[in-house]
Subunit: 198 residues, 2 copies
DNA sequence: CTTTTGATTGAATAACCAGTCAATTAAAAA
DNA sequence: TTTTTAATTGACTGGTTATTCAATCAAAAG
């Protein structure tokens, strides 16, 4: 008798997780196109044939990771909305969460995948559709209402809220990229970025 | 009789400039690896064979653009040093120059090439050597002395100058990337980023 | 130890693309 | 118009990599 259904399921979950994890590491450093399936297989310590047993293509793997990255960012934003306190306090809390995750190691890679996805023309069509679909909430558009509320309470400077949100998000993206370039460089204090709202 | 030496020289200069210009556009949107020589040729309205008449390889073209980008950034930094005024005023002037160039259109693409060059593992070895060579001055290391001077004059907040420089540069990089994603989004005022030093 | 089933492998194939080169074209001047 | 020379073209070659698939392996249970 062979393995039970559950045992096989567990193996499959484990393997596909291994592959996604390996792919995240390689994609974030080399980009999707420059990454060979054999690079992913090597990183995950398995054969390239097995990668195709679990995923139809390199593009499917990339798309899965973009989905995951989008989910993560939504999660962080939603959690910050649930925090008690003023809008600015929520933004600060969110910033601290993001900075903390930058120092840990997997969320920042998802962040970098997201930057690739939204920056490069050389991504799968499915990714382009995902990012331009109405249900995809960009961090900038999520941030704007919070900023407006803070401005009504006079705790945030009176400036174009979209511009402030763009600047905030640009800063975060820039720090993520910097972290990739110099992993040992310290992440600044959340207060430094919050200053732009005052 | 054929064309004169000068006429041919002019044609060659023009063509190689066409190719570099086209390559800059395509590279910045698709990345080096995802860009085919035929993409560059199409963008420049000439045949792919001609690209090889002027350049030995795709990598040579990319490396040339990275050199150009490095030169541009050095130029802006040096110009800012020549400005009259306090260190913070110099930084502000530099920021304004950079923001202005972001709205124009070719310098920002060089900036994006530089980000690719320093972020991706999939760049030619020559680029890696260039960026790690001692004569290459990174913007961060150029900025640190200026920040230290500003701190001595009490016009810049007393914080780790490297961290401030990293944050400043991250912000600039992030804005460049944002501009690629949403070209119509307004570039913020230089004063917004200067706040972090106060 | 044998059987069963699905995970796993890697040789084989197919598609793509960088880079080459023989042939063509275009411009200038005789 | 003809000649000369260098720019320009695009069919072709070689190497690389995505993807397939027939064969093998490994674990569980009788």
């Amino acid at each position: 008798m062979p393995r039970s259904r559950e045992q096989n399921l567990e193996i499959r979950n484990q393997r596909s997780e291994d592959i996604l994890h390996a792919a995240l590491n390689v994609f974030s450093r080399r980009g999707m196109v420059a990454t060979k399936i054999s690079d992913i297989a090597k990183e995950a310590h398995l054969s390239h044939g097995l990668v195709y047993h679990y995923f139809a293509s390199k593009e499917e793997i990339f798309t899965r990771l973009v989905r995951r990255a989008a989910d993560s960012s939504v999660q962080i934003i939603e959690q910050s909305q649930l925090q008690a306190g003023t809008p600015l306090a929520k933004i600060k809390w969110m910033t601290e969460q993001i900075f903390q995750s930058f120092s840990e190691g997997q969320y920042i890679l998802l962040f970098l995948i997201m930057i690739q996805a939204s920056t490069s023309d050389a991504v799968p069509d499915e990714v382009k559709q995902l990012l331009s679909s109405p249900e995809f909430k960009s961090p900038v558009s999520c941030l704007v209402p919070l900023i407006v509320e803070g401005q009504q309470r006079q705790e945030i400077i009176q400036q174009d809220p979209v511009q402030l949100a763009v600047a905030y998000y640009a800063f975060i993206q820039g720090l993520a990229i910097n972290k990739l370039q110099w992993p040992q460089a310290p992440v600044p204090d959340a207060e430094l970025i919050i200053k732009m709202f005052k």
